[in-house]
């Protein structure tokens, strides 16, 4: 009986995680596509040297960051998949969303500065998986994108 309650609780969490997580992810992707379309005027490169032939610009650091957490379904699906090995698609979409969101936020900062180009873009990801007691808690990760925006002197 107690076991049945535990199993029922587990399945309920799984379904909630699946439904809420999928809706969340779909909404995030929709917003990402809109934002990316709106910010297409901001060009990003990871080369360190800006072109020499541009009119005079100043450089300014721009950063975008976001923390994204998994849902319960992702967590269970990933640990199940880990038993067999292979690609963890549920986490790939999470990492993809996080990184694109970080770029969008970085570009938005560049746009505020009046820049149209960001050079030397770098990524940083750190996982917040541990809950401090050493036990594996729900997975979440911070994504940072940063670079140098070329700001025209009039705007600066």
């Amino acid at each position: 009986m107690e076991l049945l309650i535990q199993i029922g609780f587990f399945l309920a969490l799984l379904v909630v995680g699946l439904v809420a997580g999928t809706l969340n992810e779909r909404r995030h992707y929709r917003r990402l596509r809109e934002d990316e379309a709106a910010l297409r005027g901001i060009l990003v490169f990871n080369e360190r040297r800006p072109p020499d032939d541009l009119p005079l610009r100043t450089g300014q650091l721009v950063v975008g960051s976001v923390v994204i957490g998994e849902d319960y379904f992702k967590r269970i699906a990933a640990s199940l998949k880990s038993l067999f090995g292979g690609r963890l698609v549920v986490y790939e979409s999470l990492m993809d969303r996080g990184r694109r969101e970080a770029i969008v936020r970085m570009k938005r900062e560049a746009e505020h500065l009046g820049a149209t180009m960001v050079f030397n873009v770098r990524f940083e990801t750190s996982s917040l998986a541990e809950d401090g007691t050493g036990r594996q808690a729900a997975f979440s990760a911070e994504f940072i994108a940063y670079g140098t925006a070329l700001v025209p002197p009039a705007a600066a």
Partner: protein, 277 residues
Amino acid sequence: MSRYENPQLPDDVNVGRENPLTEFLRLAAGLALLALVIGAALYFGGSQLARLIPFETERDWVGERLAPGSGLPAAPGNAEIRDYLQALTDRLAAQMDLPAGMTLRAHYVDTEIANAFASLGGHIAVTRGLYRRLPSENALSLVIAHEIAHVRARDPIAGIGGSAALLLVMSLVTGDASALSGAFAGVVQRGYSRRAETAADTRAIDALRRHYGHAGGGTAVFKTFAQLRTAHGGEPPALLSTHPLDAERIARLQQAAAGWDAAAQPLVPLRLVDERP
């Protein structure tokens, strides 16, 4: 002079094409199947290992107790009937080619639940509920011979060895050892594999023939069980049951008793009657 631009990029290359839900269901089914196969292998391995334990060791280990931890009443039902069961057990065992050193001890269990079982260490039990429903000694002999056949085949210890192996690995995986004691408590209600039951039936019929000169009167046992079971909501279909269905067993018994002339070789009545209400 180079140009700087950001063309539209495909935005879906970094996520695999698999649908997470279908993949999850597929893997969960695979895991369940894997657990089933490993469980079956563990059970089988555990039973084969347990069969290697010498009978003497098993008997010394269990001692005088019948199915410890089963919750059955400790007091013997009726000492006279128990002695009758013991005598019948010894007579039948003499017909069954038991290995040297395999001794049997009969018990008469004071409960209305109709049941008979073989436990560890050569203990054989018949309950009052079953005894009172049997119409003849021949039927009682079939029950006892069937249980002797289980002891002879070492089925009780094999069953316990199998469950113990399974539960041991399960408790290692889950880190919870509390279920382990259950391996030893299950002997009373344990069903063995269809093959073990059929083999025990065959051997019991054989013993009946040697003892009475015919195999008649045994079908009453399964008719009794069939009636009891119908009263409790019917039998499970053949595929779900590890016991060969009563109808199947009755057919086999009828076939074994085909040449029996009831007038020339009458059934032996039970020598003692349990007179309690």
